[in-house]
Symmetry: C2
Subunit: 201 residues, 2 copies
Amino acid sequence: MTETGRRERKKAATRQALADAALRLFLERGYDAVGVREIAEAADVSVTTLFKHFPGGKEALVFDQGDDREAALVAAVRDRPAGQSIPQALRDLLRDERSRQVRGDPRFADFLRLIDTTPALREYARRMWLSHQDTLAAAIAADAGLPGGDPGCQALARFALDAVTLVHGRDDAETALDRIFALLDNGWTGITTEAESCQGT
Amino acid sequence: MTETGRRERKKAATRQALADAALRLFLERGYDAVGVREIAEAADVSVTTLFKHFPGGKEALVFDQGDDREAALVAAVRDRPAGQSIPQALRDLLRDERSRQVRGDPRFADFLRLIDTTPALREYARRMWLSHQDTLAAAIAADAGLPGGDPGCQALARFALDAVTLVHGRDDAETALDRIFALLDNGWTGITTEAESCQGT
DNA sequence: TCATAAAGTGAAACGGTTACACATTATGAT
DNA sequence: ATCATAATGTGTAACCGTTTCACTTTATGA
């Protein structure tokens, strides 16, 4: 299945050595205190090779894993239980991801703290996260029967992604997330269900 | 009134010379094609002096003006006509700002194009714009009688600011803005007016 | 077996940014 | 008016991330 010649194996090994060395050094001494020359040295490759493997630059060394998160976002929208709104489904997904992160092994906690305390890494992570906006918007549009580039779908996708960074670091993150998605849920059902206006008073 | 000693005048002059030289060169040959050494040269100061005046770095040279925009955001919320919701007031403000930009003098159009076509400047502008989030959120909270750090207010502030970048560059920007703020308006009145639920059907 | 292309190398450079030690000069108090 | 002081500016040299270039090594598949 997976073409695993010696070449690709060595390539993967080199890449892994670089990512490992980088993460270890970053955790030991801080992101800014470690230079790319030193990382290359530690992985026993040249600086040129380092940048061949990570054209995204120094920050990319930290984010080596492929993204299941995007697939999860799309799936949450597409495969949600009947009767559940899209914002609700997204909220549930993000809540689960959060709780899974809280009870991660300490290695992962250190990893998160590294990102949290390093502006460059926070920015990079934010960019990666927001890069799912279009895919998520497309999934929402498809599910709601709206045209692909519909601004409402784009907005909902963006806002849902932003919600994560909005509640990040709060002690009341859980309830804050609920409140934000209550806003989105109200707004979304408002602009999707046509003219189902309230007659009360 | 304004303490205007010779010293401060010279300082302001140097700063202006730097900003002017930078903008002129950027517009002539592109942001990436002009180095800070060259800018300092053109303004007849040392590179060290350049960075003393613009600690924000090369990007800061382009954004020399103080921010009336933040004050405008707060005022839009605070001084809105009776009966108008906060999202509506923000939408009106942003719509006005947009239309004013469209009919700006060509100098300003070039300026905007420069920012638009330069990733580093786009990022910087985004960061500056988003830096008003907390102030705007505070204004919203104050007006709605909610606690300062209320997540709903934070979210509304962030989403309203994000709306600008969401509609940016679209040909249907006007209607897209309406649609996004319709979402926010529905959502916001939903989470602020307690239990005024719809009894219809 | 061999041409090819992928992977890696080493050194040099570039551009933004900062550190350092130093010069100049406006300012305000004596 | 004098003078200590602090703000402003200078020049050089470095640091760091990143790219370029010309070059070597080596796995691959025809």
